[in-house]
């Protein structure tokens, strides 16, 4: 092999760069945090699978319907009525932002800006 010193340095840089996920995690493997589900209720607005993947779609839809079209109630697939409100409907059961929302959002580094305007339950407690 010609110029083996440079080539070996190149191979090492190549491996280090593309194996980043492996060595950055090395020896730190642990279970990902799970959100704390409410103990008193079993059913959310829609099915659990739908909520897990698509809650952001629903919240966006709620925002448009309530803020822009002035509708108040959401009718779910079972025909139940829900008041479209993050603070009053969602957070009524999910009592904590830190233990529910942030668990996943921090894990996957998704930072929606809900709480710049809305007030999280933790914040409410602080001011009472």
């Amino acid at each position: 092999m010609y110029n083996s010193d440079k080539v070996i340095v190149g191979i090492i840089i190549f491996i280090l760069f593309f194996a980043m996920p492996f060595w950055l995690n090395f020896g730190k493997a642990k279970a990902l945090p799970k959100p704390e589900l409410p103990s008193d209720t079993k059913e959310c607005v829609e099915s659990r699978e739908y909520m897990r993947a698509f809650h952001m779609k629903m919240l966006l839809d709620w925002r448009d319907k309530k803020v822009r079209e002035g509708q108040v109630y959401y009718i779910n697939s079972q025909g139940k009525f829900f008041k479209m409100s993050l603070q009053n409907t969602c957070m009524k059961c999910h009592k904590s932002m830190e233990k529910f929302c942030d668990r996943c959002h921090t894990t996957i580094s998704a930072h929606p800006d809900c709480w710049r305007c809305h007030i999280a339950p933790e914040e409410v407690k602080k001011w009472q």
């Binding site: 092999m1 010609y2 190149g10 996920p21 950055l24 493997a29 897990r52 993947a53 952001m56 894990t107």
Partner: protein, 342 residues
């Protein structure tokens, strides 16, 4: 023809996970086995290509230059266009690898009537730099799925990338840039008849494949959402060598994305995409233009068997004496002694 062939191949590749995961439910195959196999092929394939190239001898020093070479001390020489020392070569390579300097010199040639006219054409450079740098940022952003806790640098990159907060979730600028870059590179091959003439299926296929990856990724983020927490479970499992299928099913769109990425990784070492490695092995870039100052020895050179005049004279002494050709013993003695001393 080449375009349609590559396009259809890409469509078939999209359909494979649709059938495999959507209909047959082969989640472990498409979520764990194929990504690992593809990654192994990518790694060992590229290392093989690196070593293979490093073992190939480089017979001549052939840097391509386009500037004044170093000559007399009062003549200013172009350090980047005609590097003389290795330091200047490193600088040249740096600008080549990160800024694609040579693409910036891309020319177009047009016939106007009977005259051939050359002009500057920066589109290739623009498309290439948009595409490559966006791809780098997008790859770094994806680390959020593989590492736990997410490094703050990855967070910062994502924040800067979505700086203008257009829409919810914010549109990443690199997503737009990479689309623009890919379409520029594709249109260049389709619109310019001269480039079109020398474009093969292997030129179009990577473009379509990466377009498929980008579009499936953007769709997943903005329109058809998937369970991102489950995606992280899967990706984190892969990265920590303890692969598990996530407890919740992930949408088929994710498996299309993952399968196309796996195909790209496995295809990488055997295609034109190895220019990622090849750029470092380009003898026209990575050698200094100092042929006159330093002798370059061809590694192919081997000790040549030759006969000196004295050996020849010794061999044919009898015949030479008979024919009356003068024998030069003194000179042979002198040269032999001179060689001994040296």
């Amino acid at each position: 023809m080449n375009v349609f062939f590559s396009f259809i191949i890409t469509l078939i590749l999209v359909l494979i996970p649709v059938v495999g995961v959507g209909l047959l439910g082969l989640d472990p195959l498409f979520g764990i086995v194929i990504p690992y196999v593809a990654f192994l092929i990518f790694f060992f394939g590229l290392i093989y290509r690196i070593i293979d190239w490093a073992r190939s001898p480089q017979p001549f020093k052939i840097p391509t230059t386009c500037g004044q070479q170093k000559s007399l001390p009062w003549i200013k020489h172009s350090r980047l266009e005609s590097p003389f020392t290795m330091k200047e070569v490193y600088l040249r390579m740096f600008f080549e690898v990160f800024l694609f300097r040579s693409l910036f010199r891309n020319l177009r040639a047009d016939l106007v009537g009977k005259r051939l006219i050359y002009g500057s054409a920066k589109w290739l450079w623009l498309g290439a730099i948009l595409f490559h740098l966006s791809f780098l940022v997008i790859m770094l952003r994806h680390l959020r799925f593989f590492i736990h806790p997410v490094p703050s640098l990855v967070d910062i990159i994502a924040k800067v990338d979505g700086f203008f907060q257009l829409g919810i979730p914010p549109i990443y600028h690199t997503d737009l840039f990479i689309l623009a870059g890919l379409f520029l590179l594709l249109l260049r091959r389709l619109v310019d008849s001269k480039v079109n003439y020398l474009s093969h299926a292997s030129d179009y296929f990577p473009l379509f494949l990466i377009l498929g990856i980008v579009i499936s990724g953007i769709l997943m983020r903005t329109i058809f959402k998937v369970d991102v927490q489950a995606v992280k479970e899967l990706a984190y499992g892969l990265a920590t060598f303890s692969p598990v299928l996530p407890s919740h099913k992930i949408g088929v769109l994710f498996y299309i994305h993952l399968f196309l990425v796996s195909v790209l990784a496995a295809y990488f070492p055997f295609s034109k995409l190895v220019h990622m490695v090849g750029v470092f092995f380009s003898p026209t870039r990575n050698l200094p233009n100092n042929n006159r100052a330093e002798r370059y020895i061809n590694p192919w050179d081997y000790p040549v068997k030759y006969t000196t005049y004295c050996e020849w004279q010794e061999r044919f002494r009898d015949v030479m004496e008979e024919a009356g050709i003068p024998i030069d013993d003194e000179w042979c003695k002198e040269t032999a002694e001179a060689q001994k001393q040296a």
